[in-house]
């Protein structure tokens, strides 16, 4: 059942809105030269930081479709009746969301780095740091989506909740302290299914 759920969420992701966060990510990268000027030296200095901010904000976009539609439609209830623990549901959703989000984001980092005048070494460094951070971003997105499911204006609230929690990732990722970033990423990824599972149970009425 877990595998079926991951496959289903992947299908829904790739036939639906998986491209939106990526388009948003590229758009932020494309806007930056307009905002701060085309000087390649300046761009390549701020480039990795911009990519991180773009990735964080792009991670916010899909939050409202991660849990709420399945809660409102009774899918989460039916999964529970099929004997799947809420934590397992959350794990499947994190895995599926990561698979739709991370590979596309890393691919998009290549054209984005060209827009920001990053050289190959800087691109490689940033892409590696992003790759380490993406499981945590996906896990946070699902956990926050579960916590805010069913609330009015959940989308804006989700931003206020997710961005502060992602600060450690941003600090270590942008500073290229990969081991520390990996530790934070591991912690968030391991904890999120339990937070999301408890939230799914608590929002049941």
């Amino acid at each position: 059942m877990i595998r079926a759920l991951i496959v289903r969420d992947l299908r829904r992701g790739f036939t639906g809105a998986a491209w939106l966060p990526i388009a948003f990510f590229l758009l932020v990268a494309a806007l930056t030269p307009f905002a701060i000027g085309p000087d390649p030296q300046l761009l390549s200095r701020v480039g990795p930081g911009i990519l991180w901010i773009a990735a964080l904000t792009a991670a916010l976009l899909p939050i409202e479709r991660l849990i709420e539609p399945d809660r409102a439609d009774g899918v989460l209830d039916q999964l529970a009746l099929h004997g799947l623990a809420e934590e397992s549901v959350a794990f499947a959703k994190i895995a599926a969301h990561w698979l739709t989000f991370a590979p596309l984001l890393l691919l998009a980092a290549i054209p984005a780095s060209a827009l920001l005048a990053l050289d190959a070494a800087a691109l490689w460094q940033t892409a590696l740091a992003l790759a380490i951070g993406t499981p945590a971003l996906a896990a946070l997105a699902v956990a926050i989506a579960a916590v805010t499911a069913g609330m009015p204006r959940a989308g804006s609230l989700a931003g206020l909740l997710l961005l502060p929690l992602a600060v450690p990732l941003l600090i270590f990722g942008a500073a290229n302290a990969l081991l520390l970033e990996a530790a934070v990423s591991l912690l968030l990824t391991a904890g999120a299914p339990f937070v999301a599972g408890a939230a799914i149970r608590a929002t049941r009425t």
């Binding site: 079926a4 439609d73 039916q78 529970a80 009746l81 099929h82």
Partner: protein, 183 residues
């Protein structure tokens, strides 16, 4: 297993309101129970409690494997009906035939009418091999043919040793034990 659903001294609370207090009953194979009562008396909450989706404030509920049909579709709207039902597994083809929606198997779920949607949620339950069926307002949006088919399905399920709990304020047809909730 002698009982498929057993309530022992169960209290159900919604907010500050006590909907059910000290409820005891046992449902065995071949038995059916209709939960009746006016709007807002807690029929749906009782069904969700029986399903284990709501906690009991006090007492114990023991349940076998079960299937639930309520007013949530829980089928992916962009998929064909057959594929969407298939996600939940079980004897999908027979269930679609039993509810006369097999001619809709290749139609996307989002194009179904509300009566057809209701039949699809009932087909999800009928396809499951769970011995206990929980039906919340199963007659809503069903036409007379739909009601007849549901009645036949329930009879067959009971003959096979299953049990059914249905919440409805309308007569369901057949011989149901009644549990009346008061406001």
């Amino acid at each position: 297993m002698s009982s498929l659903l057993k309530f022992s001294n169960v209290t159900l609370r919604r907010g500050a309101r006590v909907l059910v207090d000290g409820l005891d009953f046992t449902l065995g194979p071949g038995e059916r129970l209709q939960v009746t009562g006016p709007n807002g008396s807690g029929k749906s909450s009782l069904i969700r409690l029986a399903a284990g989706l709501l906690p009991a404030a006090a007492g114990q509920v023991e349940r076998s494997a079960l299937a639930l049909a309520d007013d949530h579709l829980a089928l992916d709207r962009e998929l064909l009906l057959r594929t969407a039902l298939g996600f939940w597994g079980g004897a999908v083809e027979q269930a679609m035939v039993a509810l006369n929606i097999d001619h809709l198997a290749e139609v996307p779920v989002r194009l179904l009418s509300s009566g057809q949607v209701k039949r699809a949620t009932l087909a999800r339950v009928a396809a499951s091999r769970a011995p206990l069926w929980l039906l919340d307002e199963p007659l809503n949006a069903l036409d007379s043919d739909g009601r007849k088919r549901l009645g036949a399905l329930v009879e067959r399920h009971l003959e096979g040793g299953g049990a059914v709990v249905a919440a409805s304020h309308q007569p369901l047809g057949g011989d149901w034990r009644k549990l009346e909730l008061k406001r």
